[in-house]
């Protein structure tokens, strides 16, 4: 269908939803074009042939209207809304258990992705955190829970290969989740206009095995540690009501 490769557990559901919507709307489109084309040929003005004088306001036309309204509402609207409801719940409507998920925080700012890993204690903002720039490492086969909060303007965290997108706003925490099924390196795109260099806001998502990710985190923490000074911005933005 032309999507980027699907590297997620649920992406295929969305691709299938697209397929169903595509065939249904294509059928409706072809019906319109076929009737249109047929009328243009069959009823083009010709000498000696008169148009039929009708207002289309009789019983037959009314029944046709009601029938079409019913067919469209049930066949297209309800049909797709129900499937959308199921796919949505599988994809984004059911957050993973935070105790079991791989958790990270992403705090975009013009024009980079700040990433924070909680370390072994599972708590953000402690000494064993790791913070990185534009590089996200997550394990395959386990739900990933991303908490998002922007440092400045609205950004949008877009993982095309995982079919998810979530806006990041200042002053508000939003969440995105996905589960990777294939290892490899994928791209993170910013999908909300965030300034003059919006196009340079490209990040990387590395999917590895649990061991690889744990090893990478340990190694990188040795080298870089955590820039908690920068990440004060995350907590400072928290309001009492959060």
């Amino acid at each position: 269908m032309g999507f980027p490769e699907d590297a997620s557990l649920h992406g295929h559901l969305l691709d299938r939803l697209y397929g169903h919507a595509f065939w249904l709307t294509l059928a409706a489109f072809l019906a319109v074009v076929a009737i249109l084309g047929w009328c243009l040929v069959r009823y083009r003005a010709r000498p000696g042939r008169l148009p039929t004088y009708t207002h289309g306001s009789g019983r037959g036309a009314l029944l046709l209207s009601l029938g079409l309204a019913f067919a469209v509402f049930v066949g297209i609207d309800l049909n797709l809304a129900l499937e959308d409801h199921r796919v949505f719940d599988a994809l984004v409507g059911t957050p993973p258990d935070p105790a079991k998920a791989f958790r990270i925080q992403v705090m975009p700012q013009q024009f980079v992705w700040n990433v924070r890993y909680p370390g072994e204690d599972g708590e953000f903002g402690t000494d064993d955190d790791l913070t990185t720039l534009n590089q996200i490492h997550v394990p395959a086969g386990r739900p990933v829970l991303v908490e998002l909060r922007s440092m400045d303007v609205v950004h949008s965290f877009f993982l095309p290969h995982f079919r998810i997108k979530q806006d990041a706003l200042p002053g508000l925490t939003t969440r995105a989740y996905f589960q990777a099924t294939k290892t490899g390196t994928y791209e993170v795109a910013c999908a909300e206009l965030c300034g003059l260099e919006h196009y340079r806001m490209r990040g990387f998502l590395h999917v590895g095995s649990e061991e690889e990710v744990a090893e990478w985190i340990a190694r990188t923490r040795e080298e870089y540690g955590a820039d908690q000074e920068l990440w004060r911005a995350w907590t400072r933005m928290k309001r009492e009501s959060d």
């Binding site: 002053g171 939003t174 206009l193």
Partner: protein, 571 residues
């Protein structure tokens, strides 16, 4: 001055600041064409950059972007911001509503002018002032606005982020355009409800006038919402308030950037119906005129348009599925948005029903109208994808959305504008355009706009984000280079083809053959007066005796239609 009591224009001043709806309509038309030209040129630059990112722009590059002629990310961002804003508020709205609505509505209902002629002139001149402000914004320090036509804060409101004064001027310019639209809309509602000629009952209104009524109702309801939101952004920007600011940069606690998105799309979604409704109305009337048959299912069409007006204000959430909204609320928006397909399907049924068993004449306005049925089918049906929350999360802010709204708001709306101009040109200017050139213009435009916008759908499915100066910084989008080049050359072709129309339009103003009062054999009241109509429109107030679409009924003198102001026996 009472409506209709126009004195002869005394001098230049009286002619420029005319209160005659026909003159004001022409002023809107030329203003709209002026901005359409520049906003269209911006589209060419945008597509050049996307086809060949950061390569020197031929011909105009050096002039616009300095040495080397390469546009930077900042130029690109300003260009698409201004392209969208000018197209929506200064090209489409003036041409379709300001020009066509102003010129046609009083004539179609048998009135001598709009209900408030001076308010009508005021509306135009406020738009003119707004246009000057927008034009000036290109020349101030920091350049034009760069926060997109959606203008999301904090990007748009934080002066530390968008430095340019252009951003402030943009807010002012759009508020002026909105004020103009609002005053105009009040005038349309008052005119259509109060100034109908005797016998012009609501059930005898031409569908074009019905659509202007509905569009104006939406404008009255929703333009104040966006104007209020933009004034609050302006205050955040210049007066240090925090309505839509939050986080570390906000001067005060309690602001909420998301609130702006709700207010903007609360207007923004009705706005797309505001722009497309006149197209539906005009299309419905034209199909009837050139099929020589009454409009099929007239009452159902009116009810369908009314239903869309009713539901348009409660579907905005589908623009915000990625904002983190409650899933349950999202599902309500999914179903409400999908439900719009029901009245839309009924409109399609009626358009096809009008053609069915007609006697179809392929005159230029009809050819444009038939094109709308095709492109609006694509635009409408792809709306279904945007309504599906799960799928929308993937395509939101990608070229899929851009392609969808260009099929509706560019392809359908401009074919609708061309249909309207080509249909009413003889009435407006007393001359005829060249039929053959119009048909060639249609065929080439139709072909090329499908090339450009279908390519955009392809890129959207691949996940190409919009508003990105160079999509090919992303590895996963490399396979889309060919499509982007195709869209680039297609846009250039589309732009060049428009010169055909412009040439024909301006040449016919002076040199077109003289038009008779009723060149199309149409039944509505505007065709019962001379082309162009006298200053007071009607020598005597017409008495309306029948419906607007009485075609295919043999009348006196071999005529196959019954004018709306003619009594006929029913035998």
């Amino acid at each position: 001055m009472t409506p209709g009591a126009h004195p002869r224009p005394a001098g230049l001043l009286a002619r420029v600041f005319s209160t005659d709806h026909k003159v004001i309509g022409k002023q809107y038309l030329f203003t709209g064409i002026f901005f359409l030209f520049f906003a269209g040129l911006m589209a060419l630059l945008i597509r050049w950059q996307l086809a060949y990112p950061f390569r020197s722009v031929p011909l105009v590059g050096g002039l616009l972007f300095g040495k080397g002629g390469i546009m930077g990310g900042e130029h690109y961002t300003m260009l698409f911001t201004m392209h969208g804003s000018l197209m929506v508020f200064f090209a489409v709205t003036p041409i379709l509503i300001g020009a066509m609505g102003n010129f046609v509505v009083p004539l179609q209902i048998g009135a001598r002018d709009m209900a408030y002629p001076r308010l009508n002139a005021t509306s135009y001149w406020i738009l003119f002032a707004g246009g000057l402000v927008m034009a000036a914004s290109f020349f101030v320090p920091g350049g034009a606005a760069s926060a997109g036509w959606t203008n999301y804060p904090p990007l748009s409101s934080d002066r530390g982020v968008t430095l340019g004064q252009g951003q402030t001027l943009w807010l002012l310019g759009i508020v002026l355009a909105g004020t103009s639209t609002l005053l105009g809309a009040i005038n349309f509602v008052a005119t259509i409800l109060n100034l109908r000629a005797p016998g012009m009952t609501l059930r005898r209104l031409p569908l074009a006038t019905w659509s202007y009524f509905f569009t104006s109702v939406l404008n009255v309801l929703w333009v104040p919402v966006v104007a209020a939101a933009l004034i609050l952004v302006l205050l955040d920007r210049v007066a240090g308030t925090s309505f839509f600011l939050a986080g570390a940069n906000a001067p005060f606690e309690g602001g909420q950037p998301l609130l702006y998105q709700h207010l903007f799309w609360g207007f923004g979604h009705p706005e797309v119906y505001i722009l497309i409704l006149p197209v539906w109305g005009i299309l419905s009337d034209l199909l009837s005129v050139f099929s020589r048959k009454p409009a099929f299912g007239y009452r159902v069409s009116v009810i369908a348009m009314a239903a869309i007006v009713a539901v348009s204000g409660i579907v905005w959430g589908h623009h915000m599925f990625t904002s983190g909204m409650s899933p349950l609320l999202g599902k309500a928006f999914v179903l409400l948005t999908l439900a719009v397909s029901v009245p839309t399907a009924l409109l399609f049924l009626n358009w096809l029903g009008t053609l069915w068993k007609g006697s179809i004449r392929f005159e230029p306005p009809m050819v444009y109208a038939l094109g709308i049925v095709f492109v609006f089918a694509v635009g409408g049906l792809t709306g279904v994808f945007n309504a599906l929350q799960a799928f929308d999360i993937y395509i939101h802010d990608t070229y899929f959305v851009v392609a969808h709204f260009h099929y509706t708001l560019a392809a359908s709306v401009f074919l609708g504008s061309f249909a309207a101009i080509s249909y009413w040109f003889p009435k407006m200017f007393g001359r005829r355009m060249n039929a053959r050139l119009s048909v060639v213009h249609f065929l080439l435009s139709f072909l090329l706009l499908n090339v450009v916008f279908l390519a955009m759908f392809r890129m959207g499915i691949a996940g190409m984000p919009r508003r990105v100066a160079d999509p090919f910084v992303y590895e996963y989008l490399q396979p889309m280079r060919g499509w982007s080049v195709l869209a680039g050359w297609g846009t250039l072709g589309l732009g060049l083809v428009q010169l055909l129309f412009a040439w024909d339009f301006f040449r016919s103003l002076r040199a077109g053959p003289a038009a008779p009062a009723n060149p199309w054999g149409a039944a509505t009241l505007e065709w019962s007066v001379a082309s162009p109509p006298p200053p007071h429109n009607f020598e005597r107030t017409p008495r309306v005796a029948g419906g607007p679409h009485e075609y295919g009924r043999p009348g006196p003198g071999g005529r196959d239609w019954v004018p709306q102001d003619e009594e006929v026996s029913l035998t």
